[in-house]
């Protein structure tokens, strides 16, 4: 059921940066959203004085900051208490949603180590920290070779595929998707596999592979999705930069071309650096 939530807080001028993911939040609601959706990435050391000071100074929510400080001082306080205090301060999340959040924390306590680590890796993946995510997926596969849970293993391989694909390690990504599919035959995984293949090979090759996996019906939607993505990307800033660079290249203005390409490369490097946590 849809809901419209009133924003009752003012955003900060300086962000709070979560030390392990380097994710920046600029408002109370972003803080709540991050907490709610990344329980696996938050530990008690992350909810402390620097955050409380930021809440007071930047968000101007002195009473929340004060109540968190008081809670933290008590011996009986645990992470759930601190996170719940933040989430219940305003009505960004409803009471039933917060109850579900608390249940989720309880369920996580019963997770196996690979399940828990996978959740953490998924969190990094969600925030586009592909290198870190890939490293954790690899670590799970190394440390727990006999997981004994095909569904979990397939999910790990699938998400590993996403991480590698976004880092342009395409062969490794394809291999991950293939392994994931062979475990449980998930159609979503096959779609991602064929989509990636379509960016690397000709349509004929894709159709052959699709036929092999009895997934011919996916081919046209895949090429439609690629066409949509190509149209979307023409609106992106980096595409415009590339266009202008190529224009100068064609006009033999190599100085301008080089300058523009340096800007593009710098941008891509910066994006890559942001992944390193």
């Amino acid at each position: 059921m849809g809901r419209v939530i009133l924003c009752e807080t003012t955003p900060a001028t300086t962000s709070y940066i979560f030390p392990n993911t380097k994710i920046e939040v600029f408002s109370y609601e972003e803080l709540c959203y991050y907490i709610y959706n990344n329980i696996a990435l938050i530990s008690e050391e992350h909810i402390g004085v620097p955050m409380f000071n930021w809440i007071e100074r930047e968000l101007h929510l002195s009473d929340l900051a004060e109540s968190l400080r008081n809670l933290k001082e008590k011996d009986t306080t645990d992470l759930t208490d601190l996170l719940t205090a933040i989430l219940t301060y305003k009505e960004y999340y409803t009471i039933p949603e917060i109850k579900e959040f608390i249940l989720q924390i309880e369920r996580m306590k019963g997770l196996s180590a690979p399940q828990y680590r996978k959740l953490q890796a998924d969190g990094f993946l969600r925030y586009h920290k592909y290198l870190k995510a890939a490293a954790i997926y690899d670590e799970i596969l190394d440390q727990y070779p006999d997981i004994g849970n095909d569904k979990l293993l397939a999910a790990i391989y699938h998400n590993r595929g996403i991480a590698y694909a976004n880092n342009f390690e395409l062969e490794d990504a394809m291999e991950s998707y293939r392994k994931a599919y062979e475990l449980i035959g998930d159609v979503g995984t096959m779609y991602e596999y064929l989509l990636l293949l379509a960016t690397m090979k000709d349509r004929e090759d894709v159709e052959v592979m699709a036929k092999y996996y009895h997934a011919e019906s996916m081919v046209q939607p895949i090429y439609d999705a690629i066409k949509d993505a190509e149209e979307d990307v023409t609106g992106s800033p980096i595409y415009h930069r590339m266009e202008r660079a190529m224009y100068h290249y064609e006009k033999n203005n190599l100085t301008d071309f080089n300058q523009r390409m340096d800007t593009v490369l710098e941008h891509l490097k910066e994006e890559f650096r942001e992944q390193t946590v």
Binding site: M1, G2, V4, S15, I23
Partner: protein, 421 residues
């Protein structure tokens, strides 16, 4: 000492009054060189010797004593593209108006080191977009907070004045005759009760044809008689407790017969500073109707609150007002920030201030990227472009760096007539 100012800005002159702690009512401001009148003409004089501007009544003295440039009819020329060149500098009329008002205010405040301007309300004889813009700049230049500054119509200033008088003076309706260069205007405030709420209707009627200003220079006796006839008719329309007479046309005491008619069982007051004092009451105490369960309905005011439905779309929700009605259309604006949770729809609500009836309008927002629930943050602004037409402007604010803004803006026009029908 905290000072609250009320300024009446008319085409030909400005009147100012201030509210001082310990006094019962606002005090009109005279310029130091002329205590006989508190009407400050809209003229300016630039002294070449002193390299400064003189304003208002000071000009009549200084212009003959010093060499300089005189500029007249500042408000009347506000629409003009002409520039005024003075000592190497070039001014537009809006720039001159800003200097005029700022000089008046600063000169008054400089009379005491203790004076600190805390609130300013300006009432306008007539709304003009350029004048309005100049006044917004004035607010910034005086360093006033947004909630310490207000612009209102003459009707509203009249209402604020009346409501800050003794309650006995408004047991029944309150009337006003304004006699100015445009002729006679008649105003009346009627009160109705609706449940616990009080609704004030401020009506206006032109009597320019019956009582043109030119009559003042013809046969005074005929004017008095004609006014008496009209006043009698008006006083019979309903019970009226108090009558105010204002405008330069009443300056010479020509009312004899009409005075008898008006004073029959009523209080009658005459004065030229009603609007500035009404504005000053507002600057000090805020709008009378705010925080009281009452509504002012007058021409040019918008009879709706405009808001949005927050909460569950098909469950528990409430009306959140964005732009409060019952005020001049140019004051009716507001902004709110919302999160969309698993929906792309917002429900705009228009609540009639009198009947409390609600009209609803669903706006569907298309074209935004698909984001997880609660991460589509939009700002919603309401503004009116004139008395009949407004717009709702929706902007994608983005969710910090987690889901950056697309910078998309949507605009939905609405008309008051459509809502009323």
């Amino acid at each position: 000492m905290d000072i609250y100012l009320g300024v009446d800005l008319c085409r030909k002159n400005v009147q100012m009054s201030y509210y001082e702690e310990g006094k019962d009512e606002p005090t009109s401001i005279y310029q130091l060189n002329n205590a006989e009148t508190y009407q400050l003409p809209n003229v300016m004089f630039y002294s070449k010797e002193e390299k400064r501007w003189y304003v208002g009544n000071q000009v009549s003295t200084v212009r003959f004593q010093q060499d300089g440039e005189i500029v007249e009819d500042i408000v009347g020329n506000i629409d003009s593209d002409k520039h005024v060149a003075v000592e190497g500098a070039v001014y537009t009329y809006d720039a001159l108006l800003l200097i005029l008002l700022k000089t008046h205010i600063e000169e008054f405040l400089s009379r005491s080191e203790e004076y600190v301007l805390k609130g300013l309300t300006i009432t306008l004889e007539e709304y003009h977009p350029k004048v309005y813009q100049v006044l917004q700049k004035l607010c910034k230049e005086l360093g006033l907070a947004e909630d310490a500054f207000y612009i209102m119509s003459h009707e509203n200033a009249f209402f604020q004045y009346v409501m800050n008088q003794d309650e006995k003076l408004r047991t029944n309706s309150v009337a006003m005759f304004e006699y100015g260069p445009e002729g006679m205007e008649y105003y009346r405030i009627d009160k109705k009760h609706q449940g616990n709420a009080r609704i004030f209707y401020l009506g206006r009627e032109s009597l320019k044809e019956e009582l043109p200003y030119a009559m003042l220079f013809e046969d005074i006796a005929s004017l008095d008689q004609k006014f008496a006839e009209i006043a009698k008719k008006k006083m019979r329309e309903t019970y009226i407790s108090t009558v105010y007479l204002t405008g330069v046309g009443f300056t010479d005491m020509w009312i004899e017969q009409s005075q008898k008619v008006l004073c029959d069982g009523r209080r009658v007051f005459m004065g030229q500073n009603l609007y500035t004092k009404g504005a000053c009451y507002h600057a000090k105490f805020g709008a009378y109707e705010a925080d009281r369960d009452c509504v002012l309905c007058t021409e040019g005011s918008i009879p709706f609150d405009i808001g949005v439905c927050v909460g569950e779309l098909e469950g528990r929700n409430q009306f959140y007002p964005i732009a409060i009605g019952g005020r001049e259309w140019y004051n009716m604006k507001g902004q709110v920030t919302l999160f969309l949770d698993d929906t792309n729809r917002i429900e705009m609500l228009y609540q009639d201030k009198v009947s409390k009836e609600m009209q609803r309008e669903i706006i569907e927002i298309h074209g935004l990227p698909k984001r997880p629930p609660k991460t589509t943050k939009i700002s919603l602004e309401v503004e009116l472009t004139d008395e009949r037409v407004g717009a709702i402007v929706i902007r994608d604010v983005g969710f910090g760096r987690i889901y950056p803004t697309t910078n998309k803006i949507y605009r939905k026009d609405f008309s008051i007539g459509h809502i009323e029908s």
